[in-house]
Structures are given as structure tokens and as C-alpha cells.
Amino acid sequence: MSELLSAPVDGISGATAAELLPEETVRAIADEIWASFIGEDEVLVPLDGELPAATVSAWVGIDGPWRGRVVLTTSASAAEELTRALLRGRAPAVLDAEDVEDGFGELANVLGGGLKALLPEASSLTLPMVGAQPPASGPDEHLVSSLWRGERVDVVVCSVPLPH
């Protein structure tokens, strides 16, 4: 991901991720995406569960007066099932890693875009990245956990510190 280079300006720059994008906002946007793209009956249940040792994450950066990151994390199997749900009847019997990276990354992209649109000042979005280990979160990491088909799905929103 391209790191976000612009300096913060007065206004929303001092706000924490949770102040700018509170839990209910994150849940509302995620619920809308799940209903539209994953399936009408697919729901994110606001409960904690266990994340497996091996997870996959997809993330996008938000670049503007507030600089932040939105990270979606779940198990590898759930990421594959989410991609299969996105493709619905067009999913091949065996999804390759590139398909899952594409589909899961696009989910993070749409989630980041939906949250970015709610910020009080105009910002831009970086292209999505996918990997086993997302970049380290800032001190205001804001975690929203859910269960989807019994698998834990985390959304983390955080500020991105300026490079020193």
C-alpha cells in the first residue's frame, strides 16, 4: 500500500478512529455490503468468536485531512467462502489464490469507500492490499468483531501515524 504522505490539517486530524467512525457506523456499512454483495440473507452477527492462528487480511488506506486504514481480517477459509459468495453461480469449483485476493480485497475496498464517504472532509482511497499480516495499527486501533457463518470477521479502523 502506498503510505499516506500528506500532513494532517486542523479539524478532524486530531480525532480518533472510533470518534470519526464509531462502531455502529462500521456495522451499518458492513451490513449493507454483506446484504448487497454476499447475499440477502447473509448477516454479520455482532458477537466475538475465535480467530484462527492463520488469518488473511485485506486493507485500504484513507488519505485526507485524516489519514487512516481500514482492515478486514478473517480465516483463509472464510475469505474463500466470501469470494465464492461474491461470485455466486459464477464461482469455479476451485478458487485460486488470485481470485480470493481479488474478491476479499474488493470487499475491503468497498468497506473503506463506504466509510470514507462518511468522513466530514474529502479524502481519497488507496488501492486494496491483501496479505497474512496487515501493517501495524496506530494507538487508536478500533476493532469491530462479528461472526459470519460462525467464522469471526474483524474490521479494524485506525489512524496512520505520520512517518518520522
Binding site: N109, G114, L127
Partner: protein, 120 residues
């Protein structure tokens, strides 16, 4: 009728194409492009009746593609299908000559509402 769908995500292109079918545009030919530069080339080679483009793409963004099309004299109907639906982006899109901006996530009804005035 031919519709050009430009998005760097193959999965999202599939979702857009599926939504077009659900919105009733199942008899339209669809061609795909992976970024704005490829979309620009395919407008010339495929002569689509409508372009549906993502905004944020590598190589060339959707807005850069639209501006290049208009600068070259092309008046192909152009709409955005993007995850970034802020007021600022809607104004930028409109000023560049886009007919509409559909924000992701979308429904087939949203597609019908925006596409019907353009391609019936």
C-alpha cells in the same frame, strides 16, 4: 447494444455484469477492461454504447480515462460504478462529463434507475 465494464477487480466485473443481467440488460454484449488505459483503447476498438467504470484503478484511473475520452472528442455515454460515492467525487465526475455515479454496494434497481435514461 454493447456495454464496456472497466474495473481492476475481476470479481467486481463479474458482479457488475451479473447486476446488469438482473436489471434486464441480459441481451447486451459486454466487453471488459482491467484499467482506464485498456478502457480507453476498447472505446476506440469496440465502440461501446455505454462505459461503466470504476474510479480507482492502476495504470489509469476512471476519471483520467473519462477526461482522455472527452479530450479526444469521444462523447460515449460514461458512468462510474465505484466504492467512493462522496459529493466531491460526484461533482468531479459530473464536471468531467459522467452521466451518473453508482456507489458500491449497489442493487439491480439502482442500475435500472441510472441506465434506463441512457440505453433504455
Amino acid at each position: 447494444m454493447k456495454i464496456l465494464v472497466a474495473d481492476d477487480s475481476r470479481v467486481m466485473r463479474q458482479i457488475v455484469i451479473r447486476t446488469l443481467r438482473q436489471a434486464g440488460y441480459d441481451s447486451h454484449e459486454v466487453v471488459e477492461a482491467e484499467n482506464g488505459r485498456e478502457a480507453l483503447e476498447k472505446v476506440a476498438s469496440e465502440a461501446p454504447d455505454l462505459v461503466l467504470s470504476d474510479w480507482n484503478m492502476p495504470e489509469m484511473t476512471g476519471i483520467e480515462c473519462l477526461r482522455a475520452l472527452r479530450a479526444s472528442g469521444s462523447q460515449v455515454p460514461f458512468g462510474f460504478v465505484t466504492s467512493e460515492g462522496s459529493d466531491d467525487m460526484r461533482s468531479t465526475a459530473s464536471a468531467a462529463g459522467a452521466l451518473f455515479l453508482i456507489a458500491k454496494p449497489f442493487t439491480s434497481e439502482t442500475f435500472e434507475d441510472h441506465l434506463a435514461p441512457v440505453i433504455g
